[in-house]
Each structure stands twice: as structure tokens, then as C-alpha cells.
Amino acid sequence: MSISVQSDDFDLGAEVAALADGNGDIGAVVTFVGLVRDTTGGALLSMELEHYPGMTEQALAEIELAATKRWSLSASRVIHRYGNLKTGEQIMMVATASPHRKDAFEAAEFLMDYLKTDAPFWKKEHFKDSTKWVDSKADDDAAKDRWS
């Protein structure tokens, strides 16, 4: 179990290698990577990620702990960036490692669903002469509710 909230980019391959290293019981690693998406077809200058230092780490740790209690996980990793990111840049990742693929898949989806609704991050899109806070989605609440 490990969490990082950072402005720096991350290396997905290295993170997965570190997760699995030395544990011969891991048969499956599932990762999710969130990327800055330009829904306007080219007008996005950057995506600003704001968060609530202190609460962020605490919220992510609780979500990770809940996943660990529910599925057979050998290891997990959450990294979320903040600051100004460009289109295509990596925003965040989760990785789950398990003996079995079903656990790894479900735990990764669970982590993502809870992270979306419970971790205090906010996205602001910067355009040439305007800015827009990204709206939260009703879908995200529904996705989270399926686990309860």
C-alpha cells in the first residue's frame, strides 16, 4: 500500500515493476492511468489540478485500506499529480497486484470510483481567453454506489 501526491510525472513501468518485485505470488497487475483529455479538439492550453493537502493523502489512504480489506491484494499503489498539466500528460495512476486477475480488476475499479468522488482534487481547464472548472458527474456517484 503506497500513496503519493506530487507535481512530478511518474513512470508506469517502473511503478509496476517495483510493485511486483520480489513477490512470486503476484499473478496479475491491473493499472489505470488518467490522462489530460482535450474535449474541445485542440483549444485546451492546460489543465490545472488543485487539491487539499493533508486531506488528500488521508482520503486516498482510507480508500486504499477499504480495497485491501475487500479483495486479496498483494500490493497497491496510488499516485496523483497536482499543478499545471498539458493535453496527453499523465494525471494519476492506480495499480493493484493480486494472485488473481478478478481481484486486481475489481480493486482497481473500486479505487478509481472512490477516488473520483472522495479524494479532494479539482480540475480547471485553461483556454486562450477563458477558464472552466470541470463539472463532477452524476455517473461518478452511481459508479461508487455499486460497491455498497
Partner: protein, 83 residues
């Protein structure tokens, strides 16, 4: 009671500051919102629709009816959009 009150994202932008110290006798989060809204229009604008404002007391998500008790830090922000 002395509280650190924090604002994030568009709540912060509407109120114009990220953090302030507030002296209050508010019993619940809802009382605090009422008190701040009565103070200046910028608070009223930020808090006009509390269905789209989330609250954390001492860094834990709570509802508007939560008593402040011995809270040290209250934060207001929009629904999260990370990931």
C-alpha cells in the same frame, strides 16, 4: 471558538481567499454557513446552492448538520473531479 476555514476551487475563487481564521459560536456546519453568508455578499454567492458545496471538518467529509464540536479546521469546496 477559533476555526481555520479553507476554501477550494470555485468556492475559493468566489470568496476570494484560500484560508481565514474565523471566531464563531456556530453549533453546526449549517450555522457557520449562515453566519458567513450574513457577513458579506461574496460568501452568500459562494454558498447560495449548498447542494453543490461539500464540507470537510478536520479533513473528513461531513454533512451540513454535523456539529462543529471541537473542530479546528473546516473546508468548503465543490464536488471532487480528480482521477
Amino acid at each position: 471558538m477559533q476555526l481555520d476555514v479553507l476554501y477550494f476551487a470555485w468556492v475559493r475563487e468566489r470568496i476570494g481567499i484560500a484560508k481565514e481564521q474565523v471566531s464563531t459560536d456556530a453549533r453546526t456546519v449549517a450555522d457557520l454557513v449562515k453566519e458567513l453568508s450574513a457577513r458579506e455578499e461574496r460568501y452568500q454567492v459562494a454558498f447560495q446552492d449548498m447542494t453543490v458545496v461539500k464540507v470537510a471538518v478536520d479533513q473528513v467529509l461531513v454533512s451540513l448538520e454535523t456539529p462543529l464540536g471541537r473542530a479546528k479546521e473546516v473546508a468548503f469546496f465543490p464536488p471532487m473531479t480528480g482521477g
